[in-house]
Symmetry: C2
Subunit: 322 residues, 2 copies
Amino acid sequence: MSRKTVLAAAQLGPIQRAEGRGVAVGRMVRLMEKAHSMGAEVVVFPELALTTFFPRWYEEDLNRADHWYEHALPSNETAPLFEAARKLGIGFHLGYAEKTPDGRRFNTAVYVHPSGEVALKYRKVHLPGHKEYDPVRKVQHLEKRYFEPGDLGFPVVRAPVGGTEANLGLLICNDRRWPEAWRVLGLQQVELVMLGYNTPSLNMENRGFEAHHLRVEHSQLSIRAGCYQNACYAVATAKAGTEDGHELFGHSVIVNPQGEILAQATTWDDEVIVAEADFTRCELGRSTIFDFARHRRPEHYARIVEQVGSEAPPVWRPGQSS
Amino acid sequence: MSRKTVLAAAQLGPIQRAEGRGVAVGRMVRLMEKAHSMGAEVVVFPELALTTFFPRWYEEDLNRADHWYEHALPSNETAPLFEAARKLGIGFHLGYAEKTPDGRRFNTAVYVHPSGEVALKYRKVHLPGHKEYDPVRKVQHLEKRYFEPGDLGFPVVRAPVGGTEANLGLLICNDRRWPEAWRVLGLQQVELVMLGYNTPSLNMENRGFEAHHLRVEHSQLSIRAGCYQNACYAVATAKAGTEDGHELFGHSVIVNPQGEILAQATTWDDEVIVAEADFTRCELGRSTIFDFARHRRPEHYARIVEQVGSEAPPVWRPGQSS
């Protein structure tokens, strides 16, 4: 049986603060139709795809921020996405701000089967930024204020994608820089990682020597290493362009299990890129150089779970035996 | 106080099976002198630097393989390295096959202070290849036969390097592909990772679709991601060229904490490359995006230590709630 399917990243250009969900959803339906016309059976939308990247705005009282969150999925406003998926027979990944019935807030992503059912749900674990207003920063990055860390771990399921099935996992934005996240997926034999991101083109911490021109490279370096070292595909989709005066970079990519970029977006706007995946290509890495059962040595990895922060090493001086 | 020093990778061209240690040591002393003349205060030699890459040769009776191992360090044969280091005031990293007094065999690396003292010792944890003769392979890769997995963990020490000091860690060859290894060093605030490698230009497992042209890229991708994600420098030094008819790739690199390549070897022969490191550059990453204490979530990393191999995920089917 063929294990091939065509994957799409549906990059979104900017969504301004004043724009309602209807505008975003309309654009996303058009991108889904375009992806379908290019043969795609799976479409990946960005993180927090329905609104502007609101964690750049400070809100003293979180209860006044409820309008940024989805309280149900689908809702009247997001239903057109589910209808288009059903009509086109296409699965989709959606990132959104989730407020639960009991009042908890998460940065969440789902993979929705063409039937409209949620096959997989994930809540972002690695929240970047800060919780309180930071007067030093030019622009706030308040993800730690607006969300609590995800409580679902890094789940993987084997689910239908197009005419085949694959082991699916989800990451969100900053997660892609953390090899622990990729590895926990790899240990569940993930074959396709879907991830969305909203990443500013400039670091806003006002710290001296960060190389701004490397920010896209750092994103792609992390994704490519994650794919290679866990022998999986990834579709990584940006929200891009100037939102409310602040630029987010694009460069959405589809990456194969050798860490090669198969397709890349080159605008800062709505754009669809597609590439064919053959999930049998995941077998080489995981049965040879990354055959975990033969090669991993967890007895030496204890610090990864026993420490949160780093610890200073012992000091060695000449005249002291090693 | 300045935290700058000049680092060197001293790549070795091939060492043939028939060549004695004296030939290799003579070449290494000349490379050390050259590195010193280029301003280097630390020189990194490759993995198993004193002999041909002998794990490509099968030996039924390991007791007949003793000549590949060092039984003491320094020995009469390796003493010239220690003398040159003392004379030049240069620290060096050496990879070698170690046989202990009680008969254990390890793939080992040390960092030697100019005083001749061993400041740090490491035994390779991630042994690639296989233990028994494999008739399918064109060339054997018997590291699992010749060595047992390292028993020292991934130690880091703060030690003098040139006129400053830095937190030093060691990896060996295949370790560089394992993000767990880098992370355990990062959790000890490593600032400089020294690593040597012997990597064949061709995968000899005779498996279909491995992309041979990507083998250098995979090495550098792993090193660059390890440096970026742990905010450290690395000096990664190859043994290169055609040994006993089998090619090892070169492309030794020095990489900075942003994951950029500062210097790269471009021959398949003895070659010195140098670059200046400024260890204050490690602070940006570890105090912002990779401030582990603020951002890591070990409660979701348990699989990394609780599993060795991967496990199949649950299956999701339409009509089944998520």
